[in-house]
Amino acid sequence: MNGEEIIRFERVTKEYDGMVVLDDVSFAMERGKFYTLLGPSGCGKTTILRLIAGFIEPTQGTIYFHGKPIHHVPPNKRQVNTVFQDYALFPHLDVFENVAFGLRIKKMKEADIRQKVSEALRFVNLEGYERRRIQEMSGGQRQRVAIARAIVNEPEVLLLDEPLSALDLKLRTEMQYELRELQRRLGITFIFVTHDQEEALAMSDYIFVLNKGKIQQFGTPKEIYDEPINRFVADFIGESNILSGRMIEDFLVEFTGKRFECVDRGFAPNEPVDVVIRPEDLELVAPGDGQIVIRVDSLLFRGVHYEICGYDENGNEWLVHSTKKAEVGETVGLRFEPEAIHVMRVEREDEGA
């Protein structure tokens, strides 16, 4: 880690009524980066957010903020603000008063409040909406009010709890760009929680993939996409073909009963492994030229490409994204480069991240 550390979790565990939702998690985050906590519901991502915000306290372990433990610092005293999933805008206050809420608590002067609020509203493109009621705002506008309300307090860390999940697809894509842009302009740390892997890949500097209260993998979007560390990450981060296989030796892996050249090494001879091949890395060729031969079972037109699903002679299912069309029932060959093969250790029950 080369930047300045802002948040550090050290062996943090959180239990609710004996249920472990966060299991002995340690990590650190730098100032000014865009982090995403990615995982299915119940994986512990929101728990991490609430721990940082201070709404809950860890059962075990320590959380550091600028190197100092921040237990027993109530949420209202933390340099952290949250954008909530349901926005949590105060229905009895108008846009201006919602944004001004934190400043009024700090007993700031009226003139300063006015200036800061209009600045924040300008930042999220909501000039002129000051006196609107929350009920009169659309979903995307409420989203912006929630962001303005958080950033007007100049937090060092902005927590975003699935803030885009209530928006429709088009608006969501727009907001992804805007949020990324906003983070660059503000230069503060964003911690973004989502279960949408595309969102995570598009926006983040770094991604934490979580499952069952543990961090599965940490890395840049590219690292996570290209080199998933296990079956869960590979499956969660995108559509993939995952097959069981055996590492014969360095740079040689066996699956579907055939041996293939690959770029991975460092495994024990004959170690059982999982192999991932992304659907877009598979090329449709004539049956004779294919490393694998499949029989096409179904075909969907996805606009940019066709999504082809078929089975090889061993009954393994293969998913292919191709701009070429194939007919259902047709036999086709599949080709792929050694770089397209990602070899992963098989997950054991006791193995963490």
């Binding site: 952290v80 909530f84 949590a88 105060f90 009895h92 108008d94 608590i105 958080a150 307090n153």
Partner: protein, 267 residues
């Protein structure tokens, strides 16, 4: 929208005619110089003059209003605190137990409430009169306020409180600038409900009122037991008009409620 069948409309008309006949009947004969609730003889305001010159009756009206406003105000405060207390109880079983106890006074018949309060005041050595009536009215209004406020509280997204704390609000500020304004419409509804229950109560008051003190309901009862007197009719007409004013006031308030608290959010 679907149209009502003609027999549906006729049915409703009959029901509403029956509902309003007694009230109209009362008001109509309040202008009868004949002195009975039949055979309208000629128009007179004699009974109204009677009512307005009856100092004792006016004193009773004043008592009733003071009891209603005071008890409703205190019950509203207690009820809001009670709703918050129940809301914050985490254990479901404790919560259910509190709710069950809360509802005891709502499902109990007035006679039993009256009798048991009479016992309570006797044991506690509280003299029957203003104090005992006021305490009783507060006591039976509290659970009503709780029931009006609690659903609104449960409806409030918990992230709203988180958001306020996140923005720097301490416990008092969370309460005063988020929770209470959010609850305002239901608090007003609870207050008005308590007010009506107090104004309308007869049975409980009848038990705990003693000799020196009386409210309108009790007074009407003791007069009605002596037979028909058209000054009761005049009084009921006046009360009905007053009630209408209250209802209109309530509707205006509840319509405006949202707006009012939308503007006055600063502290």
């Amino acid at each position: 929208m679907k149209r009502t069948h003609w027999w549906g409309r006729v049915y409703l008309l009959i029901v509403f005619a029956v509902m309003y006949t007694p009230i109209v009947y009362l008001m109509y004969y309040s202008f009868n110089s004949g002195g009975a609730m039949h055979d309208f003889q000629s128009f007179t305001l004699e009974w109204y003059r009677d009512v307005l010159s009856d100092d004792r009756l006016l004193m009773i009206v004043l008592n009733t209003l003071v009891i209603a406003l005071l008890s409703a105000a205190i019950a509203t405060i207690l009820g809001v605190i009670g709703a918050l207390a129940i809301y914050y109880v985490k254990r479901q079983r404790t919560k259910n137990a509190l709710l069950a106890l809360n509802n005891v006074l709502i499902v109990s018949p007035d006679v039993i409430i009256g009798a048991s309060f009479l016992l309570l005041f006797t044991v506690a050595g509280i003299k029957l009169g203003f104090t005992s009536v006021l305490l009783s009215h507060i006591a039976f209004s509290v659970p009503i306020v709780v029931l009006m406020v609690l659903p609104k509280l449960e409806e409030m997204s918990p992230t709203l409180i988180d958001a306020a704390r996140d923005l720097g609000a301490g416990p008092w500020q969370v309460l005063s600038s988020v929770v209470l304004p959010f609850l305002a419409p239901s608090i007003w509804a609870g207050f008005f409900m308590a007010l009506t229950y107090s104004l309308d109560d007869f049975a409980v008051t009848f038990f705990v009122t003693g000799n020196g003190f009386s409210t309108l309901s009790v007074e009407i009862y003791s007069r009605a037991r002596q037979g028909i007197s058209l000054s009761i009719n005049a009084l009921s007409t006046l009360l009905f008009l007053f009630t209408m004013l209250l209802v209109i006031g309530y509707y205006v308030l509840s319509q405006k409620g949202g707006r009012m608290y939308g503007i006055g959010g600063r502290k």
